[in-house]
């Protein structure tokens, strides 16, 4: 079942002099089982939108259907805890939220909180840490003593350990070096491909979005400006201009190749694939 935003608005400081409509009449269906990117300038409402997905924020107007839950404006919500188990949200700079004495305890905190017995919680924590490539010898180390990239992966493990159906990542690669960023990208791709998790990523990294995200939502000033296949968005220069987006360099290069008479297939979304196709045409 898709995630459905229905005429959803969110107003910060409602009924106050500084009231601010951060989301304005959002109608959106996010498909299950794919990777969807949410992009838009700072202040466009991206974080506000995703914080509705596990009911950290509740709609001021309209409603949100997600899994078996229905969040309706101005109605008392009863099922927030199971919803929060099913929808894991990894915050921006999530490493700042690590707090336990050891890495293993930190990751086990979520499952314990959702009612798993200690032994089961620790088992889940160990499995999640394995999945994010944290070696066992680090399990008993303080989360403050590892590198930035490792901390970020521990924070993500804390979400994976709760086995959510939907995983939402708010700028998961910001501030990481390339290897750290690549590890996070590989991780969410495998969560999607192998474990069939629905992945929603807020990002400023258009190149990453172009390479890996099936669909893209563009937000601007609290409204949806585009929702559709990522490739179609980036192939449309008019739209990029309209949304004030910088074209990823790979798209610039691809367009230059096409303008100069080369044939480029839709599948060639990475440089390696582009180079291979072009080399094939040159040798003919």
């Amino acid at each position: 079942m898709p995630i459905r935003f229905k005429a959803l608005s969110y107003i910060y400081n409602k009924d106050m002099p500084y009231a601010h409509k951060a989301l304005d009449d959002i109608n959106l269906e996010i498909r299950e089982g794919i990777v969807t990117a949410i992009i838009g300038e700072t202040g466009s409402g991206k974080s506000t939108l995703v914080e509705h997905l596990n009911a950290l924020l509740l709609p001021s107007e309209g409603s949100l259907e997600i899994l078996d839950y229905n969040l309706i404006a101005n109605q008392k919500q009863k099922f927030l805890k199971p919803l929060r188990k099913d929808v894991g949200l990894v915050f921006q700079f999530s490493e700042y939220q690590l707090f336990e004495e050891t890495i293993l305890k930190d990751v086990a905190f979520g499952p314990l909180n959702f009612g798993f017995p200690l032994e089961e919680a620790l088992k889940r924590a160990a499995e999640a840490l394995k999945m994010v490539d944290i070696p066992e010898e680090l399990f008993s180390v303080s989360p403050l003593e590892i590198s930035g990239g490792q901390k970020r992966r521990v924070a993500i493990a804390g979400i994976i350990a709760c086995d959510p159906k939907i995983i939402v990542l708010d700028e998961p690669t910001a501030g990481l070096d390339p290897r750290g960023a690549k590890q996070i990208i590989d991780l969410f791709i495998s969560l999607n491909r192998k474990l069939k998790k629905t992945i929603i990523i807020v990002s400023h990294d258009n190149e990453m979005v172009y390479n890996y995200c099936d669909e893209t939502v563009v937000l601007s000033k609290g409204k949806i400006r585009y929702h559709g296949p990522t490739l179609e968005l980036f192939a449309d220069q008019e739209k990029l201009k309209e949304f004030n987006m910088l074209e990823p360099q790979i798209v610039t290069f691809r367009n230059l190749l096409i303008e100069n008479g080369f044939k480029v297939s839709n599948e060639a979304r990475t440089l390696d694939m582009l180079a291979k196709e072009i080399a094939g045409q040159i040798r003919k």
Binding site: L256, L257, L271, D272, Q281, R283
Partner: protein
Amino acid sequence: MSLIEVKNVSYAYNENKKVIDDVSFNIEQGTYVTIIGHNGSGKSTMAKLIVGLLPVKEGEITVDGITVNEENIGKIRTKMGIVFQNPDNQFIGSTVKDDIAFGLENKQVESKDMEAIVEEYAEKVGLTSFLEYEPQNLSGGQKQRVAIAGILAMRPDIIIFDEATSMLDPKGKKEIKKLMYDLSQDKDITIISITHDIEEVLQSDDCIVLNKGRLFMHEKPDKVFANAEKLREIDLDVPFIEKVREAFRKNKIKLKADDLEGMVKELCRSGSKH
């Protein structure tokens, strides 16, 4: 004498692990130098040592011939301005104008002169029409420009950008990099930029690469990127243009141009030969 001389500097936060290990380099007056390295390479520590936020315990750093130590730090700070990573953490004034003026007030510049100075530097960073705005109503890139204007107004010899673009969106990044490049054309200003943004390195004069606390390379950008494999080994990326070169090299096509248009022309030429 170079403007900044770093001589055999080591630093450890706790005794058994050196985060900076016997590093030496010089930075010349008027150059734009980028410092890159993976997370934990020591680049932020290095910056903190240069500006005296951390004490130099081993080795020596001099700025304009003056040794960086507790005694001289006041003198050295008047020569430097620092732009930090988080644009939200560096505001003091309630309007853009007040914020740019803050340092000048501290320096006891007379109020009759102040307005002209504030306007001059607001213009330099392209914020003339925003002087009465509250900083929190600006975009990330605009906020960083306010911070930069405030620093420029103090007429420093050296500006240090400590990952100043890493929290900005792509437009903000582009905006600040352009401004950094424009500033670097003024040979009275020396720019040191600690950065994650490998594309930024291309617009700098020199690049210092740190790895595990040691100096790995100190070269012109094109030399630094000539060996992509070597950089990847130490967890660094290469600019897009080098990735294109690499991807085609794997397919036995050699590209020499320094920009995408040039490369596509080369590809067209080798296509018509066949």
